[in-house]
């Protein structure tokens, strides 16, 4: 009975089904992995945006440049006079 032609056919189908099942599982693993990386990429983008926003909320130290402008003005004045 267990070694008959019909049984063999049944085994083949079961094996084929198992292989299909495995492929489907692996495909789902890939899908999950892809979605996880999507989430990770978006999360990184959010953090970057936040960091950029914090960076914007700073008034840059421009004392050197102001001093430089002043010095330039003095030199220009001197040249003119």
């Amino acid at each position: 009975m267990l070694a008959s032609k019909d049984a063999k056919k049944a085994y083949t189908h079961v094996t084929a089904a198992a292989l299909r099942c495995k492929d489907e599982v692996m495909r789902n693993v890939d899908v999950v992995q892809e979605n996880c990386s999507d989430i990770l990429a978006d999360a990184k983008a959010i953090n970057e945006a936040r960091a950029a926003k914090t960076a914007e909320a700073v008034i840059e130290d421009a004392s050197e440049e102001v001093a430089f402008d002043a010095a330039e003005a003095v030199i220009e004045d001197a040249a003119e006079s």
Binding site: M26, V29, E64
Partner: protein, 719 residues
């Protein structure tokens, strides 16, 4: 081809290719083609889901246009697909892991308990066997602990614990195998790619051509230090050949015309012309893989450190459970101590950490041939550089010929070239090249040549003894004198060049000044290495002391050894090692190979001799010394992570044990906590060690720019 956009975020797009099926080859082709396009930084293709993720830097529209224009036929003609992709292997291991995990939980859910028990007992037999084997060798290793944990839990009827211990061990082992296979694969691929051009001789013309165009019967020219790319028969030239990759015998053998030579062997000395008998095939890659696997280096294990750490815990674990039993006289509590298996967590997290560090290095084209070298790198306190080709550009040039006592400069260079052309050394090549560039031809005017390794050449011209070589060789060994009227000119020779002295008939006839410019980033690299716990940076060179000292001062080296011979390099390293130092040796030449193999970590940089790359423990493809700093930092971080993991595992599980012994935690809760923490640790170990933001901050280049900008600003303000 049509693509559906599945997801988008700035600089990243994920699409699905509109195809019915995608083979592994097609996925590789798509990935290789996309990577070769401008503006694309990173690509990953999943062949099962037809999904393509592209990380790009230029505008999105261009990427979309480019994707729309893709077709497999077009790509196949434009890009060379990877000859040996690791896609199939990665797929296999991924399947194995997923199957392992799913089967484990499926059995738990669906199989009736008695069947599970029988299966569990059968599956435990090998583990118990390994434990007994280790005990028979009088060793207390992790295998013993694993065996006891599994055996005891079976005896006490705690089947789920036995099964989860087995499960975690198997996951760890699979990951370890994957690590190993992947590193071998990366290494082999980088090596297989490197020898892809050969010199073919046609009549008197030599032409460089791709290896794939060579057909049986062609004559190819092989120079010192190169690997034979194909099987063949020697037509001309006497050579010493190292066939270690075929026979395992590392002593080179002499081959003369008419004898057969095989692909994969290395020409250690001499040049030869080989008539090809078999054209290239897939076997070359396989041969490289086999060679690497056979070399003991890799077999000695990736996670040496982790397992020795875990081994150390074994007696403590056993003592702990004995103590618990003595104090409580409660068997199940004593067993609960054994059940919290430290080794699982360690065995799982270590290979993952090492794997991710190695692939992180691999992304920068650094091949590390085993995890233990990263361990050694992080422990190292001494770095030894070979000068030529490592700290310098490896392409020395003749910049000055200074003749003495009325000799003619060109005539002197001609004689020098005539002698030096027999000597395969970068400096010698420089002399020959200089003569050729000035159109100086010569006929063989000398009698038999006598080499003095790493020193120079001696021969007779018209009956007069003629020597050329280093100052040490010419003035001390050969007692060459300088005529009094030449002394001022001799003293005026610049220190910045390395000098080659030529003498005919016992007096100095000429000095040839050779410049070997330093790598632009050499100084920065050495400064950075000093900041990375390297105490001693040494340069070894065959050059004269004057030139070596000048470089040492310029670079801030701790020590230099001038006028060294190849065997001196190796003995210097072993002297350092006996002093208890961990030594990194960086070199690229054939004569560096003894030193490279002796050092704790031998690193081959750039496009050096193939044999150096084969012997080295780490190869850095980029011709950039700062990669060394990166590698050192990466290994430091890896070791910090491994030690952190170790402490966490001991601390956390120690608490579990304590609570278990006190009876505060039920075994089920403690098993759950243990497994969850192990899993989280594994996930944590997968994260990048050197995130790009940190990397940018660490790379001294940007810092330099910053300083420069500031300096400019200051000077601007002053004006």
């Amino acid at each position: 081809m049509r693509f559906y956009i599945l997801h988008e975020s700035p600089g990243r797009i994920r699409l699905r290719a509109d195809v019915k099926s995608m083979s592994l080859e097609q996925a590789d082709l798509l990935e290789a083609w996309l990577l070769s396009q401008s503006g694309v930084n990173q690509v990953s293709v999943h062949e099962r889901t037809f999904s393509v993720t592209v990380i790009y830097e230029n505008d999105r529209a261009a990427i979309c246009r480019m994707l729309a224009g893709f077709s497999f036929e077009k790509a196949a003609s434009q890009t060379q697909p990877l000859a040996h992709s690791s896609r199939a292997m990665n797929r296999k291991f991924k399947e194995k892991l997923v199957c392992l995990v799913l089967c484990h939980y499926a059995r738990r859910l669906f199989l009736p308990a008695p069947v599970r028990r029988v299966l569990g007992i059968i599956r435990s037999i090998p583990r118990i066997f390994y434990a007994l084997k280790a005990l028979a060798h009088r060793r207390l290793t992790v295998e013993v602990l694993d065996g006891i944990a599994i055996g005891v839990s079976l005896l006490t009827g705690d089947y789920p614990t036995a099964s989860s211990v087995r499960f975690l061990l198997r996951v760890g082992e699979t990951l370890e195998e994957w690590t190993h296979k992947r590193s071998v694969d990366n290494l082999a691929r980088s090596m297989a790619l490197q020898v892809d051009k050969v010199w073919r001789r046609n009549g008197s013309v030599q032409k460089q051509m791709p290896l794939s165009d060579v057909v049986p019967g062609d004559l190819i020219v092989i120079h010192t230090g190169h690997v034979l790319p194909l099987d063949g028969i020697i037509e001309e030239g006497e050579v010493m050949i190292n066939q270690a990759s075929l026979t395992g015998e590392s002593v080179p053998v002499a081959k003369s015309p008419g004898t057969a030579v095989y692909a994969g062997s290395v020409v250690e000395e001499g040049n030869c012309v080989v008539r090809v008998t078999a054209a290239t095939g897939g076997n070359r890659y396989d041969r490289i893989v086999r060679m690497i696997e056979e070399s003991e280096r890799l077999k000695s294990g990736v996670e040496v450190h982790a397992s020795s750490l875990a081994d150390k815990l074994v007696p403590w674990c056993l003592a702990g459970s004995a103590l618990t039993w003595l104090l409580t006289r409660n068997i199940s509590r004593a067993v609960s101590v054994l059940m919290v298996d430290f080794s699982c967590a360690l065995k799982l997290s270590m290979p993952i950490s090492v794997l991710s560090a190695m692939s992180e290095a691999g992304r920068r084209k650094i091949t590390v041939k085993g995890g233990k070298f990263m361990e050694k790198l992080s422990e190292s306190d001494t770095v030894i550089f070979d000068k030529t080709g490592t700290l310098t550009n490896a392409c020395p040039t003749v910049v000055k010929v200074q003749p003495f006592h009325n000799e003619n400069a060109d005539e002197m260079l001609r004689i020098a070239a005539c002698l030096e052309e027999h000597f395969p050394h970068p400096v010698a090549n420089a002399v020959v090249r200089a003569a050729k560039e000035r159109g100086l031809e010569h006929s063989e005017m000398h009698s038999e040549i006598e080499y003095v390794v790493a020193h120079g050449i001696a021969t007779k011209i018209n009956g007069k003894r003629t020597v050329i070589g280093s100052g040490h060789f010419v003035f001390e060994d050969e007692n060459v004198t300088i005529l009094p009227e030449d002394q001022p000119r001799f003293d005026a020779l610049s220190d910045a060049l390395s000098w080659l002295y030529l003498s005919i008939g016992g007096t100095l006839s000429a000095a040839i000044g050779i410049s070997d410019p330093l790598h632009p980033e050499a100084k920065r690299t050495i400064e950075a290495l000093h900041g990375e716990n390297i105490e001693k940076i040494v340069m070894l060179t065959g050059d004269n002391k004057k030139a070596a000292k000048a470089i040492a001062k310029q670079l801030g080296l701790d020590e230099t050894l001038a006028e060294v011979l190849p065997e001196d390099k190796a003995s210097y390293i072993s002297a350092e090692q006996t002093e208890g130092r961990t030594v990194i040796m960086i070199g690229d030449g054939i004569n560096d190979t003894p030193a490279l193999s002796l050092a704790d970590v031998g690193i081959a940089v750039g496009n050096g001799a193939v044999i150096a790359r084969e012997i080295a423990d780490v190869t850095i493809a980029a011709d950039d010394l700062t990669e060394l700093v990166y590698l050192k930092q990466l290994s430091d971080r890896l070791m910090r992570r491994i030690h952190g993991n170790y402490r966490f595992v001991i601390g956390f599980n120690g608490v579990l044990i304590l609570f278990g012994a006190l009876g505060l935690l039920t075994p089920a809760v403690s098993a759950l906590l243990h497994n969850t923490s192990t899993l989280l640790l594994g996930l944590h170990s997968m994260t990048e060690l050197m995130p790009s933001a940190k990397l940018a901050a660490l790379m001294p280049l940007t810092e330099d720019n910053d300083k420069e900008r500031k300096a400019r600003k200051v000077s601007y303000n002053e004006t």
